[in-house]
């Protein structure tokens, strides 16, 4: 007879059968470590589970295996030197973290970035969101045994990385944002390159979706698996795709629009049950919406400078630096002493690929941050992970861990 997994003790008949079955069988709980050296390629996470056969009866999560001391280290760096450290937070979508940090500091400085910088931040940010979702879906499907999708998604990532390489100078950890704007402007030919990438990535998403959407194995492994209700998600502090998969329509780009997001026409996909299926499929829809935003932003890309015209914040042009003494001193002071941010504290956030990435920054008025606190979306999502997987099997836990897209760099900082 077929008993659906995880539903053993539902009816009195089932309970009687179970007691009958176990009467002569002395069973103990088995304790198993899932991680931190993890085959499911999600970084250094540890889940300690108590197993009864294959069912997880209790789970405890441990993090901190990639705690690199971001918050302590940046207290000893100037404001612009923090930016490479922010890259390594969510390293799958590095530029978004830069922009989030720059956004907070710009707010503390009381300046508005130029329209062109805002539009480029939107374009590159949405491109990074697409890349993050490609990684998440690719690795998640590999965990479930669907290896082909890994290659479909990762090959397209190489195209995007080529563009980012030419644009920012680095493939993965871009450091593209600067306080007051961006590192540099688009190169000649960047716009057709980006449009080509976006088209290729959309094709990849369509191909992968076509492969898995009606696949019996995928549906059985993800539908109704590890459900998380909206109340639970809100209580645990979920944001981003995981919260939207549970049915809560909340996106910072619509709620508190920034960088001109209110002028673009896009939708927020929302799930219904908060199971693993929802959490994975929502990323496909989000990626398509990101592609829409990129196309609109490119169409309406304004001209102009990419950094604010304020000598106390933005570095001078290289010609000025090398040819006149004021430019040289300006450059020197900005690099060595850092941008002077007024004393006070401020919290600001953006809708990063995993949720609300916020920075609570305290400044003491000098060129060095006094305290930078990262509000990491993955931290809170992983805190709800034990509750998500209790009651399901190990294979469900593996599929779910992939669907919540934990990036250890952001989790542990």
């Amino acid at each position: 007879m077929s008993i659906p997994p995880g539903k053993l003790l539902e009816t009195p008949l089932d309970q009687e059968l179970e007691q009958e079955f176990y009467r002569d069988l002395h069973t103990d709980l088995m304790f198993l470590n899932l991680g931190p050296s993890h085959p499911a390629a999600h970084g250094t996470l540890r889940t300690f589970v108590a197993l009864d056969g294959e069912t997880i009866k209790a789970a405890v999560a441990e993090i901190g295996y990639l705690h690199r001391g971001f918050e302590k280290t940046v207290e000893h760096r100037t404001w612009n030197q923090v930016i490479p450290y922010t890259d390594r937070l969510n390293y799958c979508s590095a530029a978004l973290n830069n922009f989030a940090f720059c956004k907070v500091v710009e707010r503390m400085l009381g300046i508005e970035i130029t329209p062109r910088a805002a539009a480029i931040r939107v374009i590159v940010g949405e491109l990074m969101r697409i890349v993050d979702h490609l990684v998440c879906i690719g690795t998640n499907l590999v965990d479930m045994g669907a290896l082909t999708n890994f290659w479909y998604t990762f090959n397209k990532r190489e195209l995007v990385y080529d563009v980012l390489d030419k644009l920012c100078g680095a493939r993965l950890t871009n450091s593209y944002g600067r306080i007051g704007g961006l590192y540099r402007d688009f190169y000649d030919g960047a716009v057709p390159d980006i449009l080509h990438c976006v088209k290729e990535c959309e094709d990849a998403f369509n191909e992968v979706e076509a492969l898995i959407k009606k696949n019996r194995i995928f549906i059985d492994r993800t539908k109704d698996v590890c459900r998380f209700s909206a109340e639970q998600a809100l209580s645990y502090g979920f944001t981003g795709p995981c919260l939207r998969a549970s049915g809560v329509e909340w996106d910072l780009r619509k709620a508190f629009p920034y960088w001109g997001y209110d002028q673009y026409d896009f939708e927020i996909p929302v799930g219904t049950t908060g199971d693993t299926w929802d959490r994975i499929m929502i990323r496909f829809y989000e990626a398509r919406e990101s592609a829409k935003i990129i196309r609109q932003a490119i169409k309406s890309l304004p001209g102009g400078p990419i950094c604010v015209d304020d000598k106390r914040i933005a570095l001078p042009e290289k010609a000025n630096t090398y040819q006149n003494i004021e430019g040289l001193i300006n450059h020197f002071k900005l690099i060595f002493e850092g941008v002077r941010v007024p004393e006070g504290d401020c919290y600001d956030a953006i809708e990063a690929a995993n949720g609300e990435l916020g920075f609570y920054v305290t400044s003491d008025g000098s060129g060095f941050p006094y305290r930078v606190r990262v509000r990491p979306p993955c931290f809170l999502i992983f805190s709800g992970f034990p509750e998500m997987v209790e009651g399901s099997m190990i294979s469900d836990a593996v599929a779910t861990l992939g669907s919540i897209n934990i990036i250890a760099g952001e989790l542990d900082r």
């Binding site: 390629a41 990639l66 302590k72 990762f154 190489e158």
Partner: protein, 168 residues
Amino acid sequence: MGVEQQLGSDVLVTRLDAVLNWGRKNDLMPMPFGTACCAIEFMGLTSSVYDVSRFGAEIVRFSPRQADLLMVMGTITYKQLPILKQVYDQMPDPKWVISMGACASSGGFYDNYCTVQGIDEIIPVDVYIAGCPPRPEAVIDAIIKIQEGVVSKETIAQKPTTAASLGH
């Protein structure tokens, strides 16, 4: 390998060495100990654009008992260190270690209370790859260096004998 006991100290097995080492170098089984951003570049390496399977190193073995190349990719913190040591100890000989990226080689730009300043504080490293993260081509270069290193390994290297009879 057990061959040396039966053959005694008068027999040199250069052809056997060559065959075994040819097999080992063309079929390296990496154990990806990926912690941070470098692991993402490694995943890019296994994709079809860079294709590490050209070098035989495609079959990643997440069980240290079945692997011979430990690739440490990413920052190692003091919390992770006992686990790295345990994984390294569980690997059977002969084994090689690649330290990929600035963080694994020297701590990177995280010079603070929680980051190990280079995994060579605790395990011996064969090849260091610089970069933050290194490009996939750099990792392929490191794998090729490891392959060159494999060729010069001897099967009966541990056997105590006079220097002259070994020849190499």
